[in-house]
Assembly symmetry: C2
Homo-oligomer: 635 residues x 2
């Protein structure tokens, strides 16, 4: 084979993976072994299925905990422009991040106390602000962030694999897109996020990271806490600016994305629900804080540097364990947990968009459930947008991070302000404490939002800052449109009653055969004026048609139209106009056409094309009622 | 901006070009200046418009003559593996190609004598073979070849530009795809191939090439016919095999593609038509032969070599003229003429596919004319397939050539055999001579077909040899399906007459408002049993609906269905089954649904989604008649 066939390679890989994937999905016993019985959120809500908090912990933590894989790396990457001397700054930056984590978790615990049934930022804002602006900013920024979660998590997952297998590196974008596609198909088919089996990888990944950190400490106890690769500590490098420091902090803050999951899932806990959820929050917060700190510290001790082809996690792992079994296991767990984080978004995004669409701020189509009872449209939009981002940024996590986390912190801020308003109104037990906590939380997250938006503005945050107001504007416009339509459709039932109209039915025929028989029979059952219309391309065929019609005893009036350009549209359009303006001026012109329903899907290509074209054209250009009479083909 | 935004660059270029292009198309006076008044083939057929043969010549020659730009280059590229010593072989190979050209033109003149109204290989085969196999092989190979003409011509055109402007080189694929896209849009809008203004570039390109060749001779008269760059002549290089020689010959044969155009266009000539067409053939053949020979000879004298980033035409031009005015003019003319060759295919492919589809060997959709009276589906398929080929082969002409010209020679062979059969049957004046000419032609083209297919098999010809029989098989299957359907639909008009049926009409309602008023009014005009159906998601909404209905004086029977999963499909489906099996067993269940017709196109996103979903689902899964009652929104 020549060089021109190199394009076959990636295509074949993709096709092979897809084939395997489909085989797994369709071979149901294998499917059960691999992904377990799919469990719907509804089932989880059933009382016998309520979860003990320690079991709920791994299920709800993939989203937050997986961020550990890219957060600290992202922070160090920002610092590195100042040279190795700046690396120690990741320690105070991580401490600041952990402080922020503590504040956020405390605030979210207040949220759980206020809304035990789970209330996202959108619901909290809707409940506590009169005008919809606050809730729309919250929903829009969350929707944007869900899309970024998919893009960042999948890209980071593939980067982990590419670090272990350099051969994968040139295909990162394609593989990331493939992952998104597979997630979409799986979720359209209805694999629920909460399946218990999904808890295992997260639990194992947590254990793996904790093991890594403890192993790091034993290593440092053996070889010293300052090693030959360890950069100097405490020296302020030349050129350090507050801006740069804040930028690194903003990047590290991406570790905190996904923190809202537990507060949205309170109902899945065993009683006492609120207390269980709070326990889970504290436990997850502690593990995450410990992991962030330990991971960042070891990265510093080993003087790990930026390598676009090798993630820092992979570098640290190989420093300790080479490329053996332990390395492989932790890398694959990282990949799986990042994909699970992306997967959880395929529940979150459609649910939120359905909620917003139910309030008529997004197209109603987001509230439609597909065959398998998921909000398919939301999933498709999510996957499409995430795919575009991955394609545009070549699946580079570090390029995507600047767009990330603005949305999170913005919606955090709005939710907290909403809670502050709520405490002021509702009061209750210890309300001043709760108010103070949320006020502090709101202030801090507002400050972080501003820091993230401003320091990352040039690197990509501007994209979000442009899209966000546009999305809010679109939401408002959509709502206005729906309101106007509702107004237009309102009637006074007492005086406006249905009445019978004068209808002229036009049956399009192409000859005398079984389909025409069927269609004309239907038309004659309606008790309206029926006219059969035949469009011929030459005089000969028209004469033949007339003759056949007479042989058939002319079951109704026949009108023949001649088309010189083999086009159906123009003669038919002229005829409809004639009917509308001359022949009795009916209230409705009613076009009846047959539609073939073939037995095999590919036979659709062979039939109905002109009927479909005609139907689309008539609906757009004419005020006619269109009836499709199906004819089921045996062949 | 950071590096991650490099993706913006090509996207912006493409968008800019598209914007300019649309501006030209829509600014009609500018359009008239640039591309002239579009002239339909029909107009050309009108007698006052018949063309003098010298004027017809450039109009009909873009397809064949443009092949000069890649044919000889393709031949030399094959030889070069044996080193510079093999280069002289292009001279005998070109001579062989010219001999083939003469044989083909003589055969085609016989074709004109036999079918003065223009007969492509498909029509000739259909007319002279009883079984459809021969004509199907001819049509399928021609259709494949039309697709390749677009891919090869556009790629070669962009390669010419990339030779002049190396900055273009990395974007060759994207630009080629863009060209195909622009050709598609232009042709969908109805720019006729035969517009007189299209003759100018071809004429100028011919003059340019003739000038190039004469300039070459004066250069050789001045500097000697053997120059320091001239490779040795007449030495058989080490490793030369017949196979390689035949391979080079096959490649050079791609210069002969497009030779059939004149024979398909006899009716556009002024009387005496056949004589004019024959004159044109002889003139075009002479010019092409002269150009091929002169061009190949100068390439040899100047020892031009393969450079993937610089076409041989460009290299030869710059040897003589540098990169000045003359170089630029001829390169741009090359580009334009190659694009015109691709453009002519946008008439040929849709016409042929419509012809085959009219014989029911391809989906009927190919016979449908679009708004602007062109066969839109054929154009879209052509552009899509050519785009796929360009993408797959990265717009590399030399990689595409091995797939090319098998189809041409195969259809040539079939047409000639058809003519032989015709002379045997029809006889007439000098029939033995005509028969001999076509028999020799058939033999030679058959041999060339085998040579091309076998020598290029590994390099890509296998793709065509796999696709061709598949296409023939598909054609036969399609015809069988249409025949079976026709059989199934046949009725005995004397005994099978339309009769009135029992119809139950179901109106889907979502409340009491203007749209429901309109739809129920229509339903009540039909004199069938009308049932209004409301699908509610909870008891509350159902109770409210019932109350409203009674307030409205219950214009017809109301059935309320409850859906627990917010899905319309399953409750409705169950209800239809109940109607079908219990309530009077109607002949037709008739579903009436409203459809919003909004004023702005983007409002479609906000409406009708569930109606569309429902309609598609019902048509596929139920035997129900579906009526759409439009409601035109003011807002």
């Amino acid at each position: 084979m020549n060089q021109q066939f190199t394009w076959l390679h990636p295509v074949l890989v993709v096709l092979t993976v897809l084939a395997i994937f489909y085989a797994i999905l369709n071979f149901s016993s294998l499917k059960r072994v691999i992904i377990g019985r799919p469990m719907r959120t509804k089932e989880l809500h059933a009382s016998h299925n309520k979860l003990f908090w320690l079991i709920a912990l791994p299920i709800l933590s993939a989203d937050l905990y997986s961020s550990v894989a890219y957060g600290p790396e992202s922070g160090i990457t920002e610092l590195i422009s100042l040279g190795a001397n700046a690396k120690w700054l990741i320690i105070p930056i991580t401490l600041a991040t952990i402080l922020l984590l503590i504040i956020l978790i405390t605030s979210y615990i207040m949220g759980i106390i206020a809304y035990p049934n789970g209330g996202g930022a959108y619901s909290i804002a809707k409940d506590n602000f009169k005008k919809p602006l606050a809730s729309l900013i919250a929903s829009s920024s969350l929707l944007i962030d869900y899309i970024l979660t998919v893009a960042v998590s999948v890209s980071a997952g593939i980067e982990a694999i590419a670090s272990a297998y350099p051969a994968v590196a040139p295909h990162q974008t394609a593989l990331s897109l493939l992952c998104v596609f597979i997630l979409l198909i799986m979720n359209l088919r209805g694999v629920a996020e909460s399946a218990l089996v999904f808890a295992w990888p997260t639990l194992l990944f947590m254990l793996g990271m904790i093991f890594l950190i403890f192993y790091g400490f034993t290593d440092e106890i053996q070889h010293g806490f300052v090693q030959h690769a360890t950069p100097v500590f405490g020296q302020f490098p030349h050129g350090l600016t507050t801006l740069l420091l804040l930028k690194a902090f903003s990047a590290a803050c991406s570790s905190l994305t996904g923190i809202e999951t537990i507060s949205n899932s309170v109902p899945i806990f065993r009683e006492p629900q609120q207390r269980s959820a709070i326990k889970t929050y504290i436990a997850l917060g502690s593990i995450t804080a410990f992991t962030l700190m330990g991971f960042a510290y070891h990265l510093y001790v080993k003087g790990i540097s930026v390598d676009p082809n090798n993630t820092m996690e992979s570098q640290l792992l190989s420093t300790y364990f080479g490329h053996g079994m332990i390395y492989q296991v932790i890398i694959w767990l990282t990949f799986i947990v990042l994909i699970l984080a992306a997967n959880s978004t395929f529940t979150g995004f459609p649910q939120l968009s359905a909620l917003v669409a139910a309030d008529r701020f997004l197209p109603r189509a987001f509230t439609i459930r597909g065959d398998r009872l998921g909000y398919s449209n939301g999933m498709i939009v999510l996957a499409g947008m995430a795919g575009l981002l991955i394609e545009a940024f070549n699946a580079q996590t570090n390029a995507l991070i600047p767009l990330y986390s603005i949305g999170v912190f913005l919606s955090f801020t709005i939710a907290q302000i909403g809670l502050v308003r709520r405490w002021l109104k509702v009061r209750g037990n210890l309300w001043q404490v709760k108010l103070a906590i949320n006020a502090i939380g709101a202030f801090i997250t507002a400050v972080v939002s501003v820091i993230v938006a401003s320091t990352k503005f040039i690197d990509g945050a501007w994209i979000v800052l442009i899209i966000l107001p546009i999305l809010v504007l679109i939401s408002v416009t959509i709502r206005r449109h729906y309101d106007q339509v509702a107004e237009e459709l309102r009637i006074i039932p007492e005086i406006m009653r249905p009445s019978t109209h004068h209808v002229v039915s036009i049956v399009l025929i192409s000859g005398v055969h079984r389909v025409v028989l069927n269609t004309i029979s239907f038309a004659k059952s309606l008790d309206t004026d029926v006219i059969a219309v035949y469009v011929g391309f030459d005089d000969d065929s028209i004469a033949k048609m007339k003759e056949k019609w007479n042989e058939w005893d002319a079951p109704c009036r026949l009108v023949t139209l001649k088309s010189e350009y083999r086009s159906l549209l123009s003669p038919l359009s002229r005829f409809i106009k004639t009917i509308e303006t001359h022949e009795g001026r009916p209230d409705h012109v009613h076009i009846i056409m047959p539609q073939f329903i073939p037995r095999k899907w590919w036979h659709y290509i062979l039939h109905n094309q002109s009927a479909l074209l005609l139907r689309a054209w008539l609906l757009r250009h004419k005020d006619v009622v269109i009836t499709t009479v199906p004819y089921h083909l045996n062949k």
